[in-house]
């Protein structure tokens, strides 16, 4: 079952929030998980993706404005008031984490997935600052960054990733991305025919980070699920050019300012080298400081113009 471009199609419309994917992921990858936490009245007791949670079933207890649909659950209202989504690293085609990683610890594998080489990562955490999906976590235990590997070791042995294997509803489907696209298109069409007009595919096309190997069928807008929409799915590198240009312009202006200050004539005659330390920030321009400074003979103009001449 070797795949060229490995990925997941996660159909959130049939996720039942059982968290089998989370458990399977932890078991296969030997993740300890975090100490139990209380997340108010949510069914979500994982909280987030991090170094110990590479799968996270999000529970979005989102009550729509129209109370009619909530109080009268129908097939149309379903998927609106209570959304569930098994979140995971998206293995972006244009991966922000890979772009900024200074050690080349983050690489693209032969399965077209994004992988953090644990023996190379030095724990600078630049990838965490860059990831737009809050996926990567830093482990104090290993001193490195961690995220879903898409079960790289299982892929190497022609095995289905643990989460997809465990998913009882086939909400998580593993396969070659091109094949998954076909499945997703058919499922979206079927849902739209059933009246789920808000259903959409996220990451199926290249509008979001060049396309996501792990893409989703959502039942509401991406931002409801904590995902940046196509307008906001931007790479960190967008600020390289304006950032450096801003620095360059500032440097040029500062250089001119420094030249103006350092080559000013007339009002700032230098005191003799044995003069006492000035008492003000502008000793040559303040009356008190001017008195303290013995005015030296004014150097001739041509002398002042000699650049870089040292005594």
């Amino acid at each position: 079952m070797a795949v060229k471009r490995a990925g997941f199609f996660t159909d959130t419309s049939i996720c039942i929030g059982c968290k089998a994917c989370e458990v399977a992921c932890k078991e296969w990858n030997g993740l300890q998980g975090n100490p139990p936490d209380v997340l108010l009245d949510s069914y979500d007791n994982t909280g987030q993706l991090d170094a110990e949670n590479w799968r996270h079933v999000k529970f979005i207890e989102h009550m729509p404005a129209s109370t009619n649909q909530v109080n009268q659950p129908t097939s149309v209202a379903g998927g609106q008031a209570w959304l569930m989504m098994s979140d995971v690293c998206k293995h972006c085609q244009h991966a922000s984490c890979m772009d900024v990683c200074p050690t080349n610890a983050i690489v693209r594998t032969e399965f077209d997935t994004v992988y953090i080489q644990q023996e190379v990562c030095n724990g600078c955490r630049n990838c965490i600052a860059a990831c737009p999906y809050d996926v990567i976590g830093f482990s104090q235990a290993t001193g490195t960054a961690h995220k879903c590997t898409l079960c790289y070791d299982r892929l190497q042995n022609d095995l289905t990733p643990a989460c997809a294997k465990a998913c009882p509803t086939q909400s998580i489907t593993f396969g070659d991305v091109d094949h998954l696209h076909q499945l997703a298109d058919a499922r979206l069409l079927a849902l739209q025919k059933q009246g789920y007009t808000k259903a959409e595919l996220y990451g199926r096309d290249d509008k979001v980070y060049g396309g996501l190997n792990n893409f989703f069928l959502l039942m509401d807008k991406p931002e409801v699920y904590g995902l940046p929409n196509a307008d906001n799915a931007v790479l960190p590198g967008r600020n390289n050019l304006p950032g450096y240009l801003g620095g360059l312009v500032t440097g040029a202006v500062a250089l001119v300012a420094g030249l103006v200050a350092f080559r000013r004539r007339g009002e700032s005659p230098p005191p003799p080298e044995s003069a006492p330390v000035p008492v003000g920030v502008g000793p040559s321009e303040s009356p008190a400081a001017a008195e303290a400074e013995a005015p030296p003979p004014a150097p001739p103009p041509e002398h002042r113009r000699r650049l870089g001449r040292r005594p």
């Binding site: 772009d99 900024v100 990683c101 200074p102 050690t103 080349n104 990562c121 030095n122 600078c124 955490r125 630049n126 965490i128 600052a129 990831c131 737009p132 976590g137 290993t142 001193g143 490195t144 960054a145 699920y225 940046p228 307008d231 600020n239 390289n240 950032g243 450096y244 620095g247 500032t250 440097g251 500062a254 250089l255 300012a257 420094g258 030249l259 103006v260 200050a261 350092f262 080559r263 000013r264 700032s268 230098p270 080298e273 330390v277 000035p278 008492v279 003000g280 920030v281 502008g282 000793p283 040559s284 303040s286 400074e293 150097p299 002398h303 002042r304 000699r306 870089g308 040292r310 005594p311």
Partner: protein, 288 residues
């Protein structure tokens, strides 16, 4: 609860060590750049101040790699920044400010050391007289300015709120670093009387840098406000830090306008506190 904003990210937990690095790197790069400017474009009497600037720039920069290494999760792998540990090739990614910055920091440190040695040891000074010496100072000065500015770009090239919303950070950190470096030289002049002929003009330059910094702070805040993330910079601690930043901007101007000037040491300490506070509010605000 999920916010309808564009940032769905986690803070990288860059905290005190990174703040200290940004501070010292800025002061070092700024000192070197001012020293270079004084040597190349100043008066003959400015040479002594230039030497003091070079004497300060190197000690200020050597603490930086230590800070950065200690901040790593795996400090023993610091060299992975430079060399691909898997293949043995050099790691140089010009599109990653952290990669570019590490190389620039290394190159700048070499030039800072050369100028430090030149300022300290007469034979080295003789060796670097003339064109070679000027070339060293020019290249070192450019690298020094880069080290001041790239730290801001490093923050901008992320998907964090405020940082990635505020592209002027590179220029802002540069202007702030130059102001801080001028303050360091003013403090040094208390102990090096031979710098006296230059101090008035360094104070003049500082006022220009402060004005430039104030303009860039305004531009930065406008860009952040436009992205809707301004609130992250103005928590209770943030407001206090901004007041310190404001004091650091105002004091050099006020000191100059007073009939009886303020103590340069006091003025400089306030300026340095402002430089530190600016970096603190920018680093910590969005991560809180």
């Amino acid at each position: 609860m999920y916010l309808a904003a564009e940032h769905f990210v986690r803070a990288p937990e860059w905290t005190w060590l990174i703040l200290a690095y940004f501070f010292f790197a800025g002061l070092s790069g700024g000192c070197y750049a001012l020293g270079a400017l004084l040597r190349l474009a100043g008066r003959p009497g400015d040479e002594k101040a230039a030497r003091v600037a070079f004497l300060l720039a190197f000690p200020l920069i050597i603490v930086c790699p230590i800070l950065l290494t200690v901040d790593l999760g795996q400090p023993a792998r610091f060299w992975h920044m430079l060399i691909d540990s898997a293949g043995g090739d050099l790691n140089f990614k010009y599109w990653s400010p952290m990669s570019l910055g590490v190389w620039a920091l290394g190159a700048y440190s070499v030039f800072a050391f050369i100028s430090f040695a030149e300022a300290l040891v007469a034979p080295v000074r003789a060796l670097l007289a003339g064109f070679l010496g000027r070339l060293v100072v020019i290249v070192g000065g450019v690298l020094g300015l880069f080290v001041c500015a790239y730290t801001g770009v490093l923050l901008s090239v992320s998907n964090q709120p405020v940082w990635s919303d505020g592209w002027p950070l590179g220029g802002l950190f540069l202007a702030s670093a130059l102001s801080g470096a001028a303050a360091v030289l003013l403090i040094a002049s208390r102990y090096r009387p031979e710098m006296a002929p230059t101090m008035g003009r360094i104070a003049d330059a500082d006022r220009y840098f402060v004005v430039l910094e104030a303009v860039l702070i305004a531009v930065f805040l406008v860009t952040v406000a436009a992205a809707g993330t301004l609130g992250k910079l103005f928590g209770a601690v943030g407001i206090l830090l901004w007041l310190v930043v404001l004091a650091g901007l105002a004091v050099p101007i006020l000191a100059h306008s007073r009939q009886r000037p303020l103590s340069p040491a006091l003025t400089s300490i306030v300026v340095l506190a402002g430089v530190l506070a600016l970096r603190a509010v920018v680093i910590f605000g969005p991560q809180s």
